[in-house]
């Protein structure tokens, strides 16, 4: 009689064992399967996005052929653009660009000055599109003033605007000087990742 187990033990022990086994499975093996499924889902989603994007690109291409002020014109007008670096890198690249120009033109440039600062933030929605994620984009501003011949001045402006280190030339001032030279003041900006969010 002593060997006869009670129903609680006879049914409860296997039930507990099953629950423990399920717990182990769901904590050890289940996540592995879930992760693989999620990865597969992500790949399928990306593939669909690329496929949709290709269709969109075809449509955009057709549209742009009809619209001269489309992205193609912007690309040609602004030249190569680079993804926003951090503020320090943006400032350094601007300074490096000016140094390159000074080295290239040498004595053809006179009375040049360079100032650098920080401007307003790029709106959040546009910053998110540029970065492809959430983040803040800061304007790093600079102003370069110099005196040069007309030919050199135009070339220097072209170098500045065509460089990936400059996103936008915001203002140009040119004043006639003596001796066939002009004084140029060029304000520009480079978009950079904000190191600290304003208002945060």
């Amino acid at each position: 009689m002593g060997e006869q187990q009670s129903p609680v033990l006879r049914l409860g022990l296997p039930a507990i064992a099953v629950m423990i086994a399920f717990g182990l499975w769901s904590s050890l093996l289940g996540p592995v399967a879930s992760e693989m499924h999620m990865k597969a889902d992500r790949i399928e989603s990306d593939a669909k996005r690329l496929s949709d994007g290709a269709d969109l690109a075809v449509r955009l291409g057709r549209a742009e052929r009809k619209d001269r002020n489309a992205t193609g014109d912007l690309i040609v007008a602004f030249g190569e653009v680079a993804s926003p670096p951090n503020e320090n890198e943006a400032g350094s690249s601007l300074l490096a660009l000016i140094n390159d120009i000074r080295e290239e033109f040498g004595n053809a440039i006179r009375e040049d000055t360079f100032r650098q600062g920080v401007g307003a933030m790029i709106p959040k929605t546009e910053a998110r599109r540029i970065l492809g994620r959430d983040g803040a984009v800061q304007r790093v501003t600079a102003e370069y003033q110099f005196v040069a011949t007309t030919e050199d001045a135009i070339r220097i402006l072209g170098r500045l605007e065509g460089s990936p280190s400059v996103d936008l030339v915001t203002e140009v001032r040119m004043t006639k000087e003596d001796g066939g030279r002009i004084a140029v003041s060029c304000s520009m900006e480079r978009w950079a990742l904000a190191s600290v969010r304003r208002g945060a």
Binding site: G61, N69, L74, V76, A77, R129, T150, G162, K176
Partner: protein
Amino acid sequence: MTFPTEGTILALQPEGTRLRAVTLERQNGQIRSATIRELEPETSSVLAMVAESEAVGVLIMLPGSAMVVRTALLPGGSDQDLLPALTIQSEALLGSEHPEHRMGRGLLPAAPGESNRIGVLTSWPVQMQANALADLEDQTEIPVRWTTPAAGLAGLMGAHRPTGPLVHANSHTGSATFAWSHAGGVGFRNVLLPPGEHWPPSVGRAFQESALGSGAPDSWAAAAGEALQTGLASLNGSITILPHEVASELQEQTGLSSAELGTHGILIGALLIDPQGAGLAGLRDAMPTENPDFQARMTAALSVPRTARLIVAAAALILIFGPIVSAWTRLSVVESRNAELASMVQDADALERSLAHYDTLGNTGFSAVKVLSDLFTNLPRGIRVEGVRMNTRDASFSLTGKSIPDRSAGVSATDVIESMRQQLGQDRMFSRISLNWEEPDAFGHLEFTLSGRIDKPHKDVMYQRERDFAAYSLAARMYPDAFPNDQTSEGSALEGSAAPVDATEATASTTQSDFVASEESNNDDSRGEIEARLNRPGLTGGDNDTASMADANDRGGSMVDPNLIPQPLSLAQVQALSRDEITAEIKTFSTAYNLLRQNGASKEDNPQHALFLQIQASWKDLRSELLNRSREGNN
């Protein structure tokens, strides 16, 4: 598969080159009628007969030479009680070497007043093969059973105890089977004697010996033996000899004649003694095997504890690892189908970010150098620029300078200013233009300030040659004799609002401002650089000004030197170029395009119109390809 007791049974007996057949209609295990047939000894003819007669079972009579028969004397009792005892005796009488499916056991019905029961045992030794119809069982769904002549005689005898013997003999094989009643019961014997002329007397003697052995009177045995010898003397084949009382009852029962009973009666007897086909008429060629359906087989397999444990273990493994294996398989398939996806996604993301970057740039500002170029292009001769300011944020600009009159041509300073204002507003690129000027100085020069807004900074204006100082340099306008190849016809040169000023401008002092037009060579180079960067067709002035060369033979239908025009490129050639090469080709084709257009090749009647279209197509292909490369981030 059990043997049916109802319906039509097809009974067969090989007889020489023929096959004796009887279709027996049974009811409650008893024969109601019989029909005799003769068939070819082939399976196909039997199957046809089965189909024709709608037979539900087949019974085949073995030859006497293929059987062993024994009898056992049992005490009185029911079949149910005596059959187990008969089974025990069969091992002693037949031996244990006979397989169960080839043994037949049966009890003769008890005759009136008979206290004992007679058991009949037959055997079909395994070495005796069923040569004929051996494959019938494999080709039909109905049950097939085999029986022996002894079983047939036992059935024919039944509860009768006739005075004469029942005999089934075959002169070809030499076999003879006897059944006779005697004081101790019923005797059965099967003999195999050499066929031939001595076969009938041998059979007669064999029966006589058997009868004497069973205690029959000598006289009866001798008479019966002689009678049998006589009866078999002219036999050619097989025959069943029945006593009168047996034959007459069977005739009534089946409707067969005496002669028909002699040839086919043995088949009927087998079914009479064993209607269920389970005893004397229930022999089988091969051991019966079960053929359970899938469910039964699975159930049987799962009933084995070891198998059940293995299946449970496998199920547990599937439950544990199945989801992982499934997920891994799916992931592997997806990854193999999208092997290059990671880099493509990266490129697509980078492209999207770049496009967003350009969109934001386009919404925020514009290319200052390009707009400066447009601004200076719209300044007529006689304007000397002192200062320029351009803001790309608010899209505003201002210009200060002097307007210099050309008195010899009767053009006043205000006329020059008005010409400038008109040109600026002509292409709708600039708007809200306001002008202020002061009193003229002693030389008549008028200082002015002009301001306005830039409405369409990205607009790619195709300037006419007279407004384009890159295509038609100021020096060429001022000193036509020094630039004979850079001239244009008078009529075509005097176009647009600047025509009066341009046509009458003669003095070097009234050129464009110092940094715009007076340094024409430098200006041409600068404009060439700017326009080349902006990829504007027609403005890529080279060192010698290609537009001027285009004017060598006047405009409006003149031929362009083919050496100045590049070979048109096919789309495949364009796609084969690198990005830098495309950029360089765009410049080349832009120049050629403008050159042709300025020489009237855009008109259909121009002999170079076809070439113009080819150059235009190549230029468009190059530009589209560059755009695509930019999107894809490729070189």
